[in-house]
């Protein structure tokens, strides 16, 4: 008996045409879920706060450089190619600078010693790391 032919006949019996339909529908639904749940929404606005007050709201689309004064000195923020980062900051540990580029809604870089935060918003925020 040809075992290969045999197993193929069995598989055909086990998997009826509708089962293939269910399988592919299931795979399609998983694809949709991955798209909805795993893709953070694209950000479109940068919100820069200084000393707890909104210093500036700027669109992400236009490249620019922003200088914000704080108690320690000046913080420089760069907007480039739909991303934003803190380029230089007088804070001693440089956490917000080392965070690098932010591109998704809900991402935040906080320069605590200089009392400045850079937040991305747009669409629906995937999560709010400051409040939760």
């Amino acid at each position: 008996m040809n075992s290969h032919e045999f197993s193929r006949a069995r598989l055909q019996r086990y998997l009826r045409p509708g089962d293939w339909l269910t399988l592919s529908l299931g795979a399609g639904i998983i694809g949709l879920m991955i798209q909805t749940f795993w893709q953070g929404s694209q950000a479109d606005t940068v919100i820069i706060r200084a000393g707890g007050k909104i210093f500036l709201e700027a669109p992400l689309a236009r490249d620019r450089e922003i200088h914000i004064p704080g108690p320690l000195g000046q913080t420089r923020v760069l907007i480039e190619k739909g991303r934003v980062r803190v380029a230089t900051d007088p804070s001693p540990r440089q956490y917000c600078v080392r965070q690098g580029w932010l591109s998704q809604a809900g991402e935040v870089a906080v320069c605590l010693p200089n009392e400045i935060s850079v937040e991305l918003s747009g669409g629906t925020n995937r999560y709010d790391s400051l409040n939760y």
Binding site: R10, R13, Y14, R16, G18, D19, G26, I29, Y127
Partner: protein, 179 residues
């Protein structure tokens, strides 16, 4: 004082259900020994039994076997009325509802594999509902949905194929299955 005995009248159907529930229970315990990368991602081998019972004895028997397995299993694992028990129960109830709905599908086109996949998806839906409504009411749970759904599809398909294989064997050797 006279010794009294309580005698329950059991039908052959009760015996079948008890036997099948015992097999399902054995599979759950066996499966408990398999390490899982993520809590909740399990093969759900006991569902093979549920599928076979559904095909052979109907939906009512499948409900019995499934719920007996959940309750007796929780007693064995020691989590009766603990969160894990309610997760299992909710998953099992949703699966059973999905299986009831799947009976409406034409059997010529849809076999145990479809039923198994539908039940697996319903199972995670039931569990995630409990997780979201009661245990972890945070939208971060949504992040795990694709992982659970992928596991459901893979294990659902595998369990369906195994159930189909057993039903096929039973059809080829009816003497063996009647014992």
């Amino acid at each position: 004082m006279t010794a009294s005995t309580i005698k329950l009248d059991t039908s052959p159907e009760d015996h079948h259900i008890a036997k099948m529930a015992a097999v399902a229970l054995g599979l759950s315990v066996l499966e408990g020994a398999i390490p899982s990368p993520l809590p909740g991602v399990k093969p759900g081998l006991a569902n093979i039994v549920t599928l076979i019972v559904l095909a052979r004895y109907g939906w009512r028997a499948a409900v019995w076997v499934s719920l007996l397995r959940v309750v007796a299993g929780s007693l064995l694992f020691g989590n009766f009325l603990a969160p894990g028990f309610f997760l299992s129960l909710s998953g099992a109830l949703f699966s059973l509802l999905a299986l009831a709905a799947s009976l409406a599908l034409p059997a010529r086109w849809f076999g145990p594999v479809s039923q198994s996949i539908l039940a697996a998806f319903a199972h995670i839906a039931g569990q995630l509902l409990i997780v979201f409504l009661w245990l972890i009411p945070h939208s971060g749970v949504a992040y795990l949905i694709p992982v659970f759904a992928t596991a459901a599809l893979l294990f659902g398909t595998a369990n369906g194929l195994i159930a189909a294989h057993f039903m096929d064997n039973a059809r080829d050797n009816p003497a063996e299955s009647s014992s």
